[in-house]
Amino acid sequence: MAFSLTQSARQTHDPMDSYVYDGKSAETRNLKPGELSTGTTIMAIPFDGGVVLGADSRVSTGTYVANRTSDKISQLHDRIWACRSGSAADTQALTDYVRHYLGQLAIETGRLPTVKTAAYLMRKLCYENKDNLMAGVIVGGWDPVEGGSVYNIPLGGTCIKMPFAIGGSGSTYIYGLVDSEFTADMGKNEAVTLVKKAISHAMARDGSSGGIIRTVIVSEGSNEREYIPGNNLPYGP
């Protein structure tokens, strides 16, 4: 089965026809046996002048943790990053494609690509290959047009610009926390604190999330990469 970028003729069955509640999340239900999942907690919050992206670091095959220190925040361009969740292979391939396209675009236009463009490219791939992919991505970054912005691209290939975005199997546990603590005009430090707190809480409750918390703080002048070791989390046993 080749990986095709064009729109495929779809004779699919509607997965809702055979839907049975089995306790599995959308992230893990459709993985093939043996496939690696970045069943995950990822989030991104824009602040004035940039964006904070955060993720846990657990990659699992079933119940075994294949990589406990993985990096789920991939760089797409100078100031554009993407948080990956779902199938590790699919999301790595997707970010490679988008990175390639953005690099080419930057050379051809002579300017920094916008986060909107990056999200559009990612969405196009995710939507048109939805039958063969299992990928939930959050694209975030800084560009001269919009400043800091965040786009959430969940499983089916929807692309929505959001004031903040959370994703991955662990995100279900922190909707309440983030909804109550998020405010629209957060500064950089407040945003970083919230990201670290929320991901800690998700890691405490979600079996597929764990390890360390990686963060990337993107602003006009710089990308700051940090991580918190698993025994120094703001919350947790």
Binding site: F3, G34, A88, Q92
Partner: protein, 246 residues
Amino acid sequence: TKTGTTIVGLVYKNGVVLGADTRATNGTEVADKDCEKIHFLAPNIYCCGAGTAADTEKTTELISSNLELLRMNTGMKQSRVVTACTLLKRMLFRYQGHIGAALVLGGCDSKGPHVYQIYPHGSTGKLPYTTMGSGSLAAMSVFETGWTENMEEADAVELAKRAILAGVFNDLGSGSNCDTCVIRLDGTVSFDRGAVKPNDVGPFRDAIQRSDRLNMTKGTTATLNSSFVKHNRVTLADVTVTEMEA
């Protein structure tokens, strides 16, 4: 599902150490008691393979060939480990997991020592130490207890051996011997086939008394007649060469 094998790779002070067991299984039967699971990719890059034996063998052969062609076509003196990793993952992703090759890739290049883990569906991870195969849990427990940063070579090799032996003895899919391969930053490689042989049955098999009738010496079968005809080789003298008109 894991695949019958224990393979490991780790980074130490002066390079990388790769290790593998030597059992190849066909279901519950042992098909090969001493197979080679550490494959050559480039003079400075080797790859351990778990999963479908044919897939790991042919995939690593193909990428080894492509790396050599790339070196020749671009005048590179040495391939980068990340190049090998990218070539492998792009191919494995294209085949959507149908090529059952789970690899531990290790080597040294101008950027330092590197170890990668590569899964059949095409995902990769770059780590200071990793294990794969059905015996990976046994081996990883050894690594998680014993690995430290900047180990000395002797300690690193010993740790890799201990990890493989953990798989050999505690995992049914792994067994027989332990092979190791040390790739150093200075470019030297030590491929130690049969570094540890805890299951050597050679002496036991030799000690078995068998009937002398099983040892058939030359002359047991009588020769009735023999003749020898030399192969007729065509020499240049036999060939007439006529030049074509321009």
